[in-house]
Symmetry: D2
Subunit: 394 residues, 4 copies
């Protein structure tokens, strides 16, 4: 009856830090989890700010050096919510120190970094340490249901995937040059930020991996105001893509289109994915995240059509823990489900998906996209050597 304690140390307290904090705070109030969560420490470089964040977000203590976080005995899991350029160093250090790791997506800014992280995760796994990458959109009830339906064969052989992730927050050319628009911090632009999500989600739902791509990237606005108030109107170069478009083949025969952009005026969080199989189709839109559309081609034609499933029934994934049918969930619940599954994985000694190898596979797709775009959109196979992720099911 006395559950073991899982001490959490989190690095970073911006957008993702706030979302993960809500997940750690809430998971035990709704789910029966086999461990007791202790929100031990949050870490950031600015002592004053991190103390305020600890108080606001519900962390017991604050640290200013992520190495100190890793050394603490009361911390068993490090949650990496920092920008992508620090993922590799923090995650490997934590794993090597025997801490479980939850690492925000994308796993790393380059495939080389990702490869090193996978190696660290494999070393750690041999000592019973778990590593997971935070593709939270896998863990919405609707996307998990989609994966389940494909796995059950409801769609038959998959023919088409079309996935877009559309945002519009930098349409204005005067929007400042924040860290997400600089290559050295973010690795890439819409590609890594948004494209990573749709590649992972497409692979997760279909159980197929992207095997080859042809791509185009574009930076519409190449110079922007520097964000600091002291810059007096100085401008700097945008060094990442504003948009990435690619066509692809999946390894079991489907063809796909992908588009990630921050210039789709009016689309705020427009992750949409549609999958067509020989027996049916599925469609999902993140702006209506409690819904999944399903076309069943096996019944009588006269009543066929896309069915809007309100994914809030007790029979649906995760939903029995929350509210009655029709009482929808929000964006943040995906993180609560993510940590729920991670805690189960740790307690039960099973590998929670997506693993670092899954994250590495996504990174390799993004790398192929970037290279194809740089080489006149020529068709490029995704590197599948050495480290191969398992079948991307849950």
């Amino acid at each position: 009856m006395t559950k073991p304690t899982l001490g959490i140390g989190m690095a970073g307290y911006a957008f993702m830090g706030r979302a993960h904090s809500q997940a750690w705070r809430t998971v035990g109030n709704f789910f029966d989890i086999p461990m007791q969560v202790d929100m031990a420490a949050i870490c950031g470089r600015d002592a004053g700010k991190v103390a305020a964040a600890a108080s606001k977000l519900g962390w017991r203590t604050a640290e200013t050096d992520w190495r100190a976080l890793i050394e603490r005995d009361d911390i068993h899991l490090v949650d990496v919510c920092t920008p992508g350029n620090s993922h590799c160093e923090i995650a490997i250090a934590a794993l090597d120190a025997g801490k479980h790791v939850l690492c925000e997506k994308p796993l790393a800014n380059t495939a080389d970094e990702a490869a090193a992280m996978v190696a660290a995760a494999e070393r750690a796994a041999r000592k019973g340490i778990r590593a997971m990458v935070g593709f939270n959109y896998r863990r919405l009830p609707a996307t998990t249901l989609a994966n389940r339906m494909v796995t059950e064969g409801k769609l038959g052989k998959i023919r088409h995937v079309r996935a877009v992730y559309l945002q519009d927050w930098i349409v204005d050319p005067e929007f400042p040059l924040v860290w997400r628009l600089r290559q050295e911090a973010a690795g890439s632009g819409a590609l890594g930020d948004l494209g990573a999500h749709i590649v992972d989600l497409a692979q997760f739902i279909t159980g197929q991996q992207v095997s080859a791509v042809s791509a185009l990237t574009e930076t519409f606005v190449r110079e922007r105001p520097l964000p600091s108030h002291t810059d007096n109107g100085a401008r700097g170069q945008v060094t990442v893509d504003d948009a990435a478009l690619f066509i692809a083949r999946l390894d079991a025969g489907a063809v796909a289109t992908f588009e990630a952009t921050r210039f789709a005026t009016g689309r705020k969080n427009g992750l949409r994915i549609e999958i067509n199989g020989e027996h049916g189709s599925l469609a999902f839109d993140l702006e209506r995240l409690n819904e999944l559309e399903y076309f069943d081609a096996t019944g009588p034609t006269v009543s066929q059509g896309f069915t809007r499933i309100l994914v809030t029934e007790p029979e649906h994934p995760y939903t029995a823990a929350w509210w009655p049918p029709g009482h929808g969930l929000g964006y943040e619940h995906s993180f609560t489900h993510e940590v729920r599954d991670l805690i189960h994985g740790i307690a039960e000694g099973s590998d929670p998906r997506p693993t670092f190898a899954d994250g590495f596979q996504v990174q390799r797709v993004l790398d192929a996209v970037a290279r194809s775009a740089a080489e006149s959109s020529g068709w490029l196979a995704v590197d599948q050597s050495d480290l191969v992720a398992g079948p991307p099911t849950r």
Copy 2:
């Protein structure tokens, strides 16, 4: 900088208790509130169950007698989440003991009870004690925005309200005779449970009060299995309405239709409201709670149409505290906003809406509906004597 503590004692830990607990736990993590919430005690009659609930839902202690809750010095606010037949007694006792009260809707099972509660709230108000009734759907970003737009005159003179609240959880005649289907516990059926919400919401958004009604109620399935396992197939009488339909006039000239039912197969939480004014219209659907549809009749005809506003921008009510645009909220957030506003009311000495008088006004409408239905649907004025709620704005 040391915020005063607000000790909360909650009675009831079923559906509403779980929802309110999440609100009290979460409000300080997202909003800057002027008091420190202390989830002091939860109360229920079964000692084992209430202890488990306290642990699961994050309450510091448990009580088995609501009178003990009221007596505790570390409790400053009593949150009444019990069935409707106990609201009156608990709320009045708490107010008279100098505790603020948040009372779930409907305020009471009868207008007489509600009148007594309003009197108690007025007595308490003279001592600086606050009372609020929990019509949580007022506090969704979309409905609050709707109220704001009407208040700003965007719709002009209101002509029509049409509101439905459609559920389907008792369509099956073998669904058991739970407390919500017995008059002595629930007061009424779909009318008080669902109808109360749409009457309150219609009045809140329009700023008008329902002044007269003509109504029909129906109980489609009049006998159901008793819920207890020991009943061996015995059946009992359904003593509340399955559905309530009414037409109405609002006091500033609009006409309205209302329908509340638990027999709308396929509609899980289908609260829909549309308001037509001389300059525009608004439409809301709780199954898509992050959206508000707005028709602006004042611009050029060529580009007129219903605009689907994704109510997730920083400019929208409550949303700046949460996530970036397009990252939707869920059902439970309405409660977090409710307690946020209540805490501000307490700290600032202002009356949070909806007051008990607002709840009483809704109860009087429901009473008129029940009487009209019992008297051949004849037109009945809603009693407006004595205690009159203020204008139902926020």
Copy 3:
């Protein structure tokens, strides 16, 4: 192989005249019909205008007196598209002269007129003459499919009907006092114009008749500018309802809400009907007339939801005659289907639905609505004496 000729004479050439003309011109190009349509004559009082209309709309000749139309030997069917106050006289004269009659809805302006028309239709029927009332919305593929699904038992016992017909063309108080706003020409306002359609459609789809009502009518703008240019700003009284709201019972146990209005800002042709039964539900919206939404409650919960049937498959009513799946039809096609069915009825000696008795039943419902509204919304049974329409199936 030589098909008999069916000579048509049409009275009226305004909106309905244009729509019916398109139907008569087109029906033989798409459907295999057992008679040859001859668009013999169109009739209107102004010789110049009716000649122009004949030329524009494809009629062989023009007449200025409807009595002359009836007397012509080459005319076998009179199509009455005039305002409602002349329906009774023209239709009875035509029937008594041995002409088939297609009469626009509503059948008449009063129940007394309608009763006389039914009597004439019965007299004529004994001589093999057919009479049909033009509730064209029965003849959209989606509504006919809805009727078929109910008839097949897909919904089980019907619990709820909710039907609205929302328009907004007179929201502006300066819109002139056209004939549709004067009682002596139009009989009633939104009630007869729009309410008639939803009462007929509800009865058609469900196979049940409205048996009792409680109603409210409203005229928001009571005085409007006279339409003639010579009126110099003079104003006249609006003598019909702007909106009619009523609740009702159907004779097999369903309850219903109806609303007809010309003041629903932004709703252009918003006829919406939803039907909830114990095994499923149907929903239709005339602004998306090629779609029917269907909820099937009999399958597994996990994939239930409202299915958007695109009613354009060859298996659907009427659609095989037109285009491939997904190629939608428009408003006017309902009239083509109407005259197709009428021609078959004439050729095969069967009574096309809706009959005059069906139209009379609708008129009796409207009369009960008007009387209930005039009598404090009291519950009123619909007169069912004497002439009873058959079951309102197709």
Copy 4:
């Protein structure tokens, strides 16, 4: 007042022949056109079938040789509705014989054929003879409105186009090998049939031309049953694409994705196009052809969103000729508008768009797509030499 007669001769009477016939029959009944249409002759190889078609579709006479059609003095315009492999021969012969030509899309099966047709159209134009290619989807009220709004600058600089044309009629591997699946008759598969439409529509609405592409084509089912009943189960090779996917650049800086497929299970006629500009966005779905979605980014954020414009107002293109607001049009109306505009062009001596040069430009894009797909998706510029279409506005 005596309008000149325009004698029409039509080659082909299958799907497109039926659609064009309805257009020629109907245009004068709704629009004020400057010429009198004479449906002089329809032409097909089978004498019996073409005579039946003439009778059914409203043509005065029938011919069995298209050369005879061209020679007739009472024919001034030849409407080419045959499969793509005969377009070139018939259209050039007709133009050279001094007949106006309306040619179904795609203009030809190859770019070489299309080039010859453009040359013939230019020769003919010097003699006052007009040639038009039948991209009918330009002529829906919603798409014409979209073009108008872009032209007016409502979207500002265009950033993105995403266009799909999704059908599902050959998902079943046992669907027979009809002419549309054979290269020698159809030229290509989904690419020419569906891809041509979305390329033309994207260019029409944006006023930009596709300048370069990277593409992938796929044939999922490579062998199908022969369609003839006498084939006794024999199978033949599918020699066209089932699906074509491509990314593209437009000549004024936008990037685009295109997808044309016949394997999108559940999508019946799913032509969807979305355009994002710096000041707004537009979205259109052919399955809801009376609607256009518009996002206006220039107004206050608080009420921004996608507005569903019901394109049925008198202020909208073409719609004043038809029905009141909210009374939607169908698929076939696009053809009526097409011939309306062509007749005006002929009467007024102006070139109706899209010209053969416009059709040639589309063909060149399709050719580049096919070549890129054959060459490992490498980036290919669209040939812009010699014959350049004017700006693709209406």
